[in-house]
């Protein structure tokens, strides 16, 4: 644990009865960084978030947030945190403005200051013209933005977002991303969980991939792609004849081949070159697509394609 880490955790475990939701993870997050936790449903992301937001206590292991121990200094730590939970948890009966004004009371911020910040934050969240509307009448994207505005009332040094864009349409997602960039630019440290790989590539300087309560990979998005995937992926689809006859013949051209029910994925350095070689073997794929490797390839390689529910 380095002393200048904003947050560091070592050997973090969370156990619920016989179920080990988090199974010994180590992370260290620096000030100003934007850090991602990726993983399939049930990987332990939310349990980890709840521990590093000083709400739930670890079963074992140690956390330091702002250099403080959350077990003994929970309220002090939470006063400097902002949390955007998976569900919006807004007071639906109250107006948009009142949601902010009332939440500010929890931080003991003087009323005048809350009002001023709330006005600015509604501006930031593009909700100024809805200030007096009942919260229940907002769209999903608006509620999400209001929840983010609410999490910023105490001007947190660290903002923790649990699946911030799940369920939003593309417009709403991009608007949210834009707001998060701004916060990052202003020096706020961000911790984000998501299972959208494009989101992680967009937002995170560094990330960990979690699976079954453990960290299975850690690094910058580009570095992870280089480490766990190839530069390009060649996707081949075969027609009625099926792909089986070609698998053996083709696989020698790729670093790794993944056989899916409807197509072959060839992990290669240069997709076009391999495609020419494939054609030279006499194989006639119905369609061929060359694309750059993405974080999604890394994710699927590390956590598998099987659904875990």
């Amino acid at each position: 644990m380095t002393s200048d880490s904003l947050l560091s955790a070592r050997g973090l475990v969370k156990q619920f009865g016989n179920f080990r939701a988090v199974d010994g993870i180590d992370v260290s997050i620096e000030r100003g960084e934007s850090f991602g936790f990726l993983g399939p449903n049930g990987a332990g992301k939310t349990s980890t978030m709840r521990m590093i937001s000083a709400v739930s206590q670890p079963t074992a292991g140690e956390i330091r947030i702002f250099g403080l121990n959350p077990v003994s200094h929970g309220p002090e730590i939470r006063a400097r945190l902002g949390v955007v939970p998976q569900e919006d948890t807004l007071e639906l009966e109250l107006s948009v403005m009142n949601n902010l004004l009332m939440f500010g009371r929890y931080f003991d911020i003087p009323r005048k200051v809350i009002r001023q910040r709330a006005t600015e934050l509604l501006e930031f969240a593009q909700l100024s013209d809805r200030a007096d509307d009942k919260c229940d009448n907002l769209s999903g994207g608006m509620k999400r933005r209001l929840t983010i505005a609410r999490s910023l009332l105490n001007q947190p040094e660290l903002l923790i977002l649990d699946e911030p864009t799940t369920g939003l349409d593309p417009q709403a997602r991009h608007l949210l991303w834009d707001r998060l960039y701004r916060l990052k630019r202003d020096g706020v440290t961000l911790i984000i969980t998501t299972h959208y790989m494009d989101e992680a590539e967009q937002l995170c300087d560094r990330l960990v991939v979690m699976d079954q309560g453990r960290i299975v990979a850690e690094g910058a998005p580009r570095a992870l792609i280089e480490q766990y995937s190839t530069r390009e992926v060649l996707e081949l689809r075969f027609g009625a004849e099926g792909q089986e006859p070609y698998v053996d013949r083709i696989s020698e051209y790729a670093e790794r081949v993944e056989v899916l029910p409807d197509r072959l994925l060839l992990y290669v350095h240069d997709g076009d070159e391999v495609l020419r070689a494939v054609h030279a073997t006499g194989a006639t794929p119905e369609s061929a697509l060359v694309r750059r490797s993405s974080l999604e390839d890394v994710f699927l390689r590390l956590t598998g394609r099987t659904l875990v529910d």
């Binding site: 619920f16 937001s53 709400v55 739930s56 206590q57 077990v71 003994s72 200094h73 929970g74 309220p75 002090e76 939470r78 006063a79 945190l81 949390v83 939970p85 569900e87 948890t89 807004l90 007071e91 639906l92 009966e93 109250l94 107006s95 009142n98 004004l101 009332m102 939440f103 009371r105 929890y106 931080f107 003991d108 609410r150 105490n154």
Partner: protein, 267 residues
């Protein structure tokens, strides 16, 4: 070290005020719906029972325990109103805050601890009970049904009675996943207590073997306290018993509400 940690956790008095203010401010935004049930219903009961039934009673049997029926029944209605306010504030609103809208989850992401939420919430219910008690005491006085300065303690008794129900029910509601059991609480606890806690007729109407059963009903102790205060006479022994029962419910309820809400929100 260990000691300072523990002290840091339990010394919550400055923080739970924030939860009290939050609940208070929330009420000020949404009070309209609750005013009718809090004040109008007891008033209607008082008019219908006290005047209507009271007229019938006086025509047939004259006085009840030496008083007009209106005087007899009025303090019981105050106790019932306190129970209803305590119970209604601590079932659906609490389940909603931990399960449906999850606003208590939002609150524990701030400096508040689960214990602060319990104290702030119950303190707010206490404030409402007090003011409801004041209004009802004035109303009952207006009907001419008070005859002791002890009646000035009625608002405080309303606080005790209401919280004696609110605290354990909050503890219960914080463990629930659905509101299915709340209906049973109404059917098998609240309504029987409302009807049979010597509220509408005196204990002497029950056969001897049923009296201990009535005494098991928490509301009975509230009714008895309110009646003593309104009439200004009491036996010390039974007062101590009534206060102990209600105080005990509040104490144990508060303790398990803190424990259960911590388990629900922070595990």
């Amino acid at each position: 070290m260990d000691r300072t940690i523990r002290r840091g956790r339990t010394r919550t008095w400055p923080r739970w005020h924030r939860s009290l203010w939050y609940h208070g401010a929330f009420y000020l935004q949404t009070w309209r719906a609750s005013v009718i049930s809090t004040f109008l219903f007891p008033l209607l009961y008082l008019a219908s029972m006290g005047l209507g039934v009271g007229h019938l009673v006086s025509a047939h049997t004259g006085l009840v325990e030496g008083r007009s029926y209106l005087r007899f029944v009025a303090p019981g209605l105050l106790a019932i109103t306190a129970m209803n306010l305590g119970e209604s504030e601590s079932m659906w609103p609490v389940l909603g805050a931990v399960k449906w809208v999850r606003t208590y989850h939002a609150a524990v992401a701030t400096p508040l601890e689960p214990e602060d939420i319990v104290l702030g919430k119950l303190a707010w219910v206490g404030v409402r009970l007090f003011f409801t008690g004041v209004v009802l005491t004035i109303t009952i006085a207006f009907f001419g049904a008070l005859n002791s300065w002890w009646a000035l303690t009625l608002p405080l008794l309303a606080v005790l009675i209401g919280l004696a129900f609110a605290a354990p029910l909050m503890a219960f509601a914080s463990t629930r996943e659905s509101d299915a059991s709340f209906t049973s609480i109404y059917r098998f606890l609240i309504i029987p207590m409302f009807l049979f806690s010597a509220t509408f007729y005196p204990m002497s109407q029950y056969p001897g073997y049923l009296r201990p059963v009535v005494q098991l009903m928490p509301l009975y102790h509230g009714v008895a306290l309110a009646r003593s205060a309104a009439f200004g006479h009491a036996e010390v022994g039974s007062m101590v018993l009534h206060l102990t029962v209600l105080g005990g419910m509040l104490f144990l309820g508060l303790r398990s509400a803190k424990k259960n809400l911590r388990r629900r929100l922070a595990s």
